[in-house]
């Protein structure tokens, strides 16, 4: 009960922010929320189940192009393309998982990285369809979801918040369920879990597909919300970002990825207004975090004050 209340209050806080933030920051918040959906899904695989993947950019990209291609090829738009993008992320994650989950640890990291690189190069190779490096600009007509015009700042922010709220609450429900306990068991001690009757391969494949659905939805939303799909979103950088968000906010905490995404986004935004060497200061911030709060911001809070936090 406490856990649900905590997350509902957090969502209410976001709603207040969405109502009062000035346009520039409201737009940033929309971006952060979509990236937080992506990172929340990543965290289910990484923070809760212990799968360190460097291939999630492929699922994000699959979602983005799974939504963008029907727009440019067939003139689709709205909810169907969001759903298609989400599905594309899940299907690609399942296909990659079938093979990559034969490995674990560092090997899993490398195999997923290779799949993602292959996916990125495929997007470039078919540049006649995907736009390659240039990407695809999505026409305004396609960017209407349930009557909401995504070319406008305020409606876009509210839809982003709505999607994030659903994604967060589903993640909380998942990790608090019996299956969520099995996810933690895989992270903590796979061999013991096997000897309690759980098939690690099957459990991890299911989680990876869920994580891929999150990534796919986020990718589709990002493309539709901001009117652009590009192969750049399928580069390794976009695999590392959700990991950094999770680590910064607290891997294995439901709200952590949002906190991480927001902190990183506004830190870069603020520091880059001071100096060109902003990545150096971001690096310093990350080192400080690793030294003083290795479990991330919310992980630190959970350790000290809120042990019941999922």
């Amino acid at each position: 009960m406490k856990a649900w209340l905590f997350h509902l209050v957090a969502l209410a806080g976001l709603a207040v922010l969405a109502a009062v933030l000035p346009a520039y920051h409201a737009n940033n918040l929309a971006r952060v929320l979509v990236l937080a959906v992506y990172a929340t899904g990543y965290n289910l695989a990484f923070g809760y189940t212990g799968m360190l993947s460097l291939g999630h950019a492929l699922f994000f990209g699959a979602g983005m192009f799974g939504a963008a291609l029907p727009v440019t090829l067939w003139g689709w738009g709205g909810v169907p393309v969001l759903a298609l993008g989400m599905l594309a992320g899940g299907v690609v994650a399942g296909a990659v998982g079938l093979l990559a989950l034969r490995t674990k640890g560092v090997s899993f990291m490398i195999v997923t990285l290779m799949f993602a690189q292959a996916g990125y190069l495929t997007l470039i190779w078919f540049n006649a369809v995907t736009g390659g490096d240039q990407g695809l600009v999505l026409p305004g007509a396609a960017r209407r979801v349930l009557g909401i015009d995504l070319t406008q700042d305020a409606p876009r922010l509210w839809l982003a918040l709505g999607i994030y709220a659903v994604a967060l609450l589903l993640a909380v429900a998942l990790v608090r369920s019996r299956f969520g306990r099995i996810m933690l068991a895989m992270r903590e001690n796979e061999e013991r879990s096997r000897m309690l009757g759980y098939n690690p391969y099957a459990v991890k494949l299911k989680v990876l597909v869920v994580s891929g659905l999150y990534a796919g939805l986020a990718g589709a939303a990002y493309g539709l919300f901001f009117g652009y799909a590009g192969a750049g979103f399928a580069t390794v950088q976009y695999s590392i970002l959700p990991m950094l968000y999770s680590l910064l906010g607290g891997a294995g905490t439901a709200l952590g990825p949002l906190i991480g995404a927001a902190a990183m986004f506004w830190l870069i935004d603020f520091v880059s207004s001071l100096t060109n060497a902003y990545l150096m200061l971001v690096g310093v911030a990350l080192i400080v975090l690793v030294l003083f709060a290795p479990r991330g911001i919310l992980g630190f809070v959970r350790e000290r004050w809120l042990p019941w936090l999922p």
């Binding site: 068991a185 096997r194 000897m195 009757g197």
Partner: protein, 240 residues
């Protein structure tokens, strides 16, 4: 004679040139406490790992009841009723005692987790520690927690790999009483080095040496067997 619940025929496993288990025939009778003894390196842990499916055999056949389970992976054998407790304590140190046991209880598809966890913890006398983080328990309690997890699986066969290792004398007494109380509901196969525990608990004993069965019988028969004395107990010819 009671029915055979777990049977191995011609079981073999080699690691490179080392024949860790070399053509073992073995039958576990329903409801017994059976001890597996032998010198270090005799192949005891490899043998029970073959039974539980943690490693695959090179040759031979394993049957649970009437069913051939040789090709089943470990997790499927657990679901069929073979539980294994590790030689080196293997729990989830960062999860609570409740979650540790709940993982075993829910593996059986139980509806009421709380009742299942309370029952398993009650068996080992750890009800009061239910909300503690497992990694902060004393070593003896961690061993008991592992046993509780095994019991919560409601196994047909419970395999214990050196369960008393590292326990204090008082803890061993409690453990012996606990295992003796299990015979009405499950069959126990245990690897054990503590001869007092073996002779006290086991109805039958199998002695392994160099991957082969050296002898099998009641504690009295094993004690009187000259080959066992020579190979393991360190009396008779070896001492002369």
């Amino acid at each position: 004679m009671a029915a055979v619940i777990l049977q191995a025929t011609g079981l073999a496993k080699a690691f490179g040139g080392l024949k860790a288990v070399d053509g073992v025939d073995f039958a576990l009778r329903a409801g017994e406490i059976h001890a597996l003894i032998g010198p270090n390196g005799a192949g005891k842990t490899t043998f029970v790992s073959l039974l539980s499916g943690r490693i695959a055999p090179d040759a031979g056949r394993i049957e649970l009841g009437e069913e051939d389970i040789t090709a089943l992976p470990a997790h499927a054998r657990v679901r069929k009723g073979i539980a294994y407790t590790f030689q080196i304590t293997s729990i989830y140190p960062r999860l609570s005692v409740f979650d540790n046991v709940a993982l075993a209880v829910q593996s059986q598809g139980a509806r009421d987790l709380r009742a299942g966890v309370a029952e398993a913890l009650g068996r080992v006398g750890m009800e009061s520690l239910v909300s503690q983080e497992a990694g902060t328990l004393s070593y003896g309690h961690q061993r008991l927690l592992e046993l509780a997890m095994g019991l919560a699986l409601k196994p047909r066969v419970l395999i214990l790999d050196e369960p008393t290792q590292g326990l204090a004398a008082g803890e061993i007494d409690g453990f012996v009483a606990l295992v003796r109380g299990l015979v009405s509901e499950t069959t126990v196969l245990m690897i054990e080095h503590n001869m007092e525990v073996v002779m006290d608990l086991a109805q039958r004993i199998t002695v392994l040496n160099f991957g082969q069965v050296l002898a099998q019988g009641t504690p009295a028969e094993i004690r009187a067997n000259p080959a066992v004395q020579a190979a393991y107990l360190g009396t008779g010819d070896a001492a002369a």
